[in-house]
């Protein structure tokens, strides 16, 4: 998906027809199935995005981000789907792996500053997907937790519309790996179906 998003960006920025063709040829030559099949369908208008309505996208991002920060971001970017794609919480495994600080980031020292006690890790905050709720279920943190965050927005739309749980995310994330791998594949396919999303985000749709 990142490769496809890259292709779309290049096509949009490249003014020359012959150069556009070269980009397309390059993409189809080096990309494996089924990705290039989905890409072809997306480029030729054969995919429908009837569920990806602005209202739903707003709801999904509202569940995951601070509304004030979303407001500032939307103002700056000027495009709803791009804002959401850029803000969408990253997986913990991909999260800021370059940082010297090491991640997950340390909790701020409670010794300094008023209100320090109430701090939680900013990592959890940007991670977004109700970590606290999972904590209260009494489950030990799953080593597969990172996969949960890897579901892109298209995956979330897929969850809403293609499974029985239409209004809430599952309370208990699957812990057995075959199941997890299957849902990761599913979310990947769904990402392709909704090719407008997740595009420029680092780590988006990686599978």
């Amino acid at each position: 998906m990142n490769r496809f998003a890259e292709l779309l960006d290049r096509l949009a920025y490249e003014p020359g027809r012959n150069n556009k063709i070269r980009l397309l040829v390059g993409y189809f030559r080096e990309t494996a199935d089924p990705d290039r099949g989905y890409a072809l369908a997306a480029l030729t208008g054969a995919l429908s995005f009837k569920h990806a309505k602005p209202g739903l996208i707003r709801d999904l991002i509202a569940e995951r981000t601070d509304p004030v920060l979303f407001g500032y971001s939307y103002d700056y970017v000027g495009d709803l789907s791009e804002t959401v794609a850029l803000m969408w919480p990253k997986s913990s495994s991909a999260h800021h792996s370059e940082s010297f600080l090491g991640h997950p980031s340390p909790h701020p020292s409670p010794a300094r500053g008023e209100g320090a006690q109430s701090l939680c890790s900013p990592h959890n905050d940007v991670e977004g997907i109700d970590v606290s709720e999972r904590r209260t279920t009494g489950q030990a943190p799953s080593p597969l937790r990172g996969r949960v965050g890897e579901r892109g927005i298209a995956g979330e739309i897929a969850v809403r519309f293609y499974s029985r749980t239409t209004t809430r995310l599952p309370q208990h994330w699957p812990t057995s790996s075959p199941h997890c791998a299957r849902s990761a594949r599913l979310s990947c396919r769904r990402s392709l179906r909704a090719g407008w999303t997740s595009s420029t985000r680092p780590g988006a749709g990686r599978c």
Binding site: R22, L69, L86, F100, S105, S118, P122
Partner: protein
């Protein structure tokens, strides 16, 4: 001493951040008697101060840009060295932003404020890595202080550029990059990715890039693009200041692919605005995750936010229970403007004139 407030130690004034008990300013935007400079970018390091205290690299960069007499007197400080100034103790610590960049720690009666200047916590082969300095008050930039700015993996961006060079071997690739820091980091990333062909430099890049090499930063074979024939530039990569990539200067290149290495390239409208064909998200500033993780890791209970998206970062701090406020400092953010305008002339081919 109990009751000493942070603003008694450092306070924003029109000239910049002023330390009254120490008798100096940090990164002043107007000439002052004594200046402590965090790094060599032109919006932080200006000429005309009475005395300047900075790292050796920053002093050298100021000398390269402004000439020998850029200050009345200078003193070089090593990372970690403590210096007593008036009633305060100062020390410089790596900021990971560009070569020689420093956070400045100011301690007065056990209360420590860290003015971080510009910084990043991501890996950079061309400068010392960011050092975490625990403090009571942390002064942070907010250049990329919105959650849409997440820079990702810079090595991947370098590979993107190399893939394009491979796909279009008959075209030249022109990479816009700030001449101090960004350009050298891009070159180093290309070398790490295995690219060993000569890399060409716009005239405005030469002095500072050769300085990096003198300081032991391995950048491989570099050549001035000046004097090259058009056909010879097919399949090559040239680094140029951002303003030059939209200039008539680009006519010397065969069907150039215009790239721009910047954190701003994360947002499409910014890339389109600049007529960029190949946006490369490579930044010398911390992204949103880097800013918030760093703020938390300093342990500071109070955060002062300057140049950039102050409001969003202040909001985030407050939502985490930290005291936070924007600092009204003006004059920062145009890292490269002055020097680009001043030096593009030398790279002009004869008979072509620069756009006004």
């Amino acid at each position: 001493m109990v009751g000493m407030r942070p603003q008694d130690i450092l306070i924003p004034v029109p000239a910049g951040l002023c330390c009254k008990p120490g008798g100096f300013h940090i990164d002043p935007v107007r000439p002052v008697e004594r200046a402590l400079i965090t790094h060599g970018h032109s919006d932080h390091a200006r000429a005309g101060h009475g005395a300047v205290l900075a790292t050796q690299e920053t002093l050298d960069m100021m000398r390269l840009r402004y000439g020998e007499n850029f200050a009345g007197s200078v003193q070089a400080v090593a990372y970690g060295e403590e210096i007593r100034l008036g009633d305060v103790t100062v020390s410089f610590h790596p900021a990971g932003h560009v070569l020689g960049s420093a956070q400045i720690s100011v301690t007065c009666k056990d209360r420590r404020i860290v003015a971080s200047g510009d910084y990043k916590d991501a890996r950079d082969p061309t400068c010392a890595p960011f050092e975490l300095v625990p403090c009571d008050v942390f002064i942070t930039e907010a250049t990329f202080g919105l959650p849409v700015f997440r820079h990702g993996d810079a090595a991947g961006e370098a590979n993107k550029l190399l893939a394009s060079v491979k796909l279009f071997p008959e075209r030249a690739h022109l990479v816009g990059a700030y001449s101090l820091g960004k350009a050298q980091r891009v070159i180093a990333l290309l070398r790490e990715a295995g690219y060993d062909a000569p890399i060409y430099l716009h005239g405005a890049m030469e002095k500072i890039t050769y300085y990096y090499q003198e300081r032991g930063i391995a950048l491989g074979e570099l050549r001035p693009v000046r004097g090259m024939k058009k056909a010879e530039l097919a399949g090559t990569i040239t680094l140029a200041p951002p303003s030059a990539t939209s200039d008539v200067w680009t006519r010397r290149f065969p069907d150039p692919v215009t790239a721009f290495a910047s954190g701003w390239m994360r947002v499409r409208a910014r890339a389109r605005q600049g007529g960029i064909e190949l946006p490369l998200v490579i930044s010398d500033h911390a992204d949103w995750d880097g800013l918030t993780a760093t703020i938390a890791a300093t342990g500071a209970g109070e955060i002062w936010v300057t140049h950039g998206q102050e409001d969003a970062l202040v909001h985030w701090c407050k939502s985490k229970g930290l005291a936070a406020r924007p600092l009204d400092l003006v004059g920062y953010g145009d890292e490269d403007e002055g020097e680009t305008a001043a030096t593009t002339g030398e790279a002009q081919p004869a008979g072509e004139t620069k756009k006004p």
